[in-house]
């Protein structure tokens, strides 16, 4: 009875008392090993990426692929922040389990803000509105057939929002606000654990209210800022197109990716103490259900957008999809659908799979890969040379979309693990901790 309080399966001799809290809640040492591996991957991927600079269109592809890496990292940092705020508002044991990984993701925000600098510098190679920043330049570009009439008129029309100064100011406001939220949530989290009254109902209530009051409004502000950010950074690559659901799609995509990464983190760490004791099958199952919800919501929004534009079938909107379906893009489009929805949805329906650690590790990795495919599908067809024309022959630089995001994500991942290691893996001053030490039930 003294040993064998394993979380794997129910043996008939399991006793029903609570388990003891592990002596140390520090993040396991193994994280340093993972960080070293990530840095090696980052170095290798960077080296290969440099080679692409010498290929045809290679430098352009490096920049576009870098934008994809930036946006994916922003998805983890910003998404981590918003899911952190969400779990403060909703409460629940799943939230306590993920809180420290989510805080670590949010603390990478300044690194992601720094990652925007190259994009700000090389802006005019990415965005038409940055290449032709005033009506004079637009008129000249029109004359030389660098832009279509529609694009020229739209660039002038959207000038107030989409011009280099405005976008940089918007970006600074976005990151400034998010960094403020990150600062307070992370500071309070430590203060909450150090509360002299910790463990009492009074302390629980005080901190819960304090977090709730900041997070409720924080979620709203985040959604607005994310909408602005996703329009500025990604959607405006195609200056003529618009879709009112765009920001929300990114929001759900971020939730999708953050949950996958969070679950991946806690399951991988559960081979070691303290999560070996603290990650119960019950909470893993709950997180699996939440992932299924995000998989559903994600396809719901994507399909809703597609169906509305397909029904309308008007020249303002439909080319965005045509560019992403024809000319070889059908393969990526199908892959995106299969990776993003079909596989995770069908697998997450299974109760046994949600309760299986090894399979969930694979599924979470798969879902992260799916996010990258989706981001590629969103970004690359915006450019004239790639719209409705996916080709590798004479265009080897497109492979930078594999190496550059890997390098960027590996650097980000290494920093995420550093931040994860900086704090204990679990908040102590939370009433749910006691519940998580209770024995499992068969649901």
């Amino acid at each position: 009875m003294a040993h064998g309080q394993e979380q794997h399966g129910h043996d008939a001799h399991a006793h029903y008392g609570p388990r003891t809290l592990p002596a140390s809640l520090a993040t396991p040492e193994i994280v340093s090993v993972w960080r070293t591996r990530l840095l090696i991957i980052a170095a290798a991927a960077t080296l290969v990426s440099v080679l692409f600079a010498f290929t045809h269109e290679g430098r352009n592809h490096l920049l576009r692929a870098y934008l994809m890496g930036f946006m994916t990292c922003f998805g983890f940092a910003g998404g981590g922040l918003v899911v952190l705020m969400l779990q403060h508002v909703t409460g629940g044991k799943w939230g306590l389990l993920l809180r420290r990984p989510l805080e670590a993701m949010s603390r990478t925000m300044w690194l992601v803000a720094l990652m925007f600098v190259p994009i700000a510098i090389f802006m005019k190679h990415l965005y038409q509105w940055a290449a032709y920043p005033n009506p004079g330049a637009v008129a000249e570009a029109l004359q030389h057939h660098m832009v279509t009439l529609e694009q020229a008129m739209t660039i002038n029309d959207k000038h107030a929002m989409l011009n280099p100064t405005s976008v940089i100011v918007q970006t600074i406001i976005i990151f400034g606000t998010l960094l403020t939220f990150t600062y307070f949530l992370n500071k309070w989290s430590l203060q909450c654990d150090a509360d002299p009254l910790r463990g009492t109902q009074q302390s629980f209530d005080r901190w819960r209210t304090k977090f709730e009051n900041l997070c409720g409004i924080g979620i709203f502000i985040y959604v607005v800022l994310l909408t602005v950010g996703s329009i500025d950074w990604i959607k405006s690559l195609d200056v003529t197109w618009y879709s009112s659901i765009y920001g929300l799609q990114f929001l759900v995509g971020q939730g999708y990716a953050v949950l996958a990464l969070g679950v991946l983190t806690v399951i991988l760490l559960s081979k070691f103490e303290p999560l070996k004791t603290l990650l119960r099958m019950t909470e893993q199952h709950d997180l699996g259900k939440l992932m299924l919800a995000f998989v559903m919501l994600n396809i719901y929004l994507c399909f809703a957008e597609f169906l509305i534009i397909w029904s309308g079938n008007i020249p303002d909107e439909i080319p965005w999809y045509l560019n992403r379906i024809y000319g070889g893009w059908w393969t990526i489009c199908t892959l995106d659908f299969v990776f993003h929805w079909v596989v995770p949805f069908c697998l997450l329906l299974s109760r046994d799979l949600k309760r299986n650690k090894r399979k969930m590790v694979w599924l979470c990795s798969w879902m992260l890969l799916a996010r990258c495919i989706d981001m590629f599908w969103l970004i690359e067809p915006n450019f004239a040379d790639a719209a409705a024309n996916l080709h590798i022959r004479g265009n080897i630089g497109i492979l930078a979309y594999i190496t550059v995001p890997v390098a960027v994500l590996a650097v980000w991942g290494a920093y995420y693990l550093t931040e994860l290691k900086a704090r204990p893996i679990m908040n102590l001053n939370d009433p749910h901790l006691e519940e998580m030490l209770e024995p499992e039930h068969a649901h």
Binding site: H10, A12, Y16, F303, F306, L307, S311, L349, H441, A442
Partner: protein, 180 residues
């Protein structure tokens, strides 16, 4: 069908859920399989002790969902392509994106209904008669404050004398024979 006669099983009555779960675990260890716990509220440990993990409700639900999906999609295809072919905004007759939402709704409808009715049927409902209600105090106790374990006579290991001895080793308030 003539009424079944003879003994249905032995019913032990306990005061606490822990005693019930303990007895259930021991009964399973001793080799009993055909048994059931009756409690006033869900005791999840009792379900664990009974090794009651799997039900066929998910399968019924999935089957219902797939039937709903296929039916709705094929029905719309038949309507749009063969039965009432209409030119709508110059689109092909087989415009599958438009069929997705009704097909999705039917999937939910069919899987929801099959889960609900499947659960009721797999529970053996509606059942107007159950032998355990013949036991004294069951009618009142099982819905208020008593916990019951019934070892059923259909179990090959069941014997009126030995099973009674087995159950009496636990701190049961009573062990009674239940007739069909």
């Amino acid at each position: 069908m003539p009424p079944r006669e003879g003994i249905y099983g032995l019913l032990a009555e306990f005061n606490t859920p822990s005693e019930l779960v303990h007895a259930t675990e021991k009964a399973r260890e001793a080799g009993y399989r055909r048994m059931e716990c009756y409690t006033p509220y869900p005791v999840e440990e009792a379900a664990v002790a009974l090794h009651f993990h799997k039900t066929r409700v998910p399968l019924v639900c999935l089957t219902g969902g797939i039937i709903g999906l296929v039916t709705a999609f094929l029905m719309q295809t038949w309507i749009a392509v063969w039965a009432y072919p209409l030119n709508i905004a110059g689109r092909p007759l087989f415009s599958w994106p438009a069929f997705i939402i009704p097909a999705y709704e039917w999937t939910i409808l069919f899987s929801g209904l099959s889960a609900a009715f499947g659960m009721i049927m797999l529970n053996g409902m509606p059942q107007l008669y159950h032998p355990v209600f013949n036991a004294p105090n069951f009618r009142n106790g099982a819905t208020t404050d008593k916990f019951f374990l019934c070892l059923e006579a259909v179990d090959p290991k069941f014997s009126v004398t030995e099973t009674r001895t087995f159950l009496e080793q636990f701190p049961a308030i009573s062990v009674v024979e239940v007739d069909h």
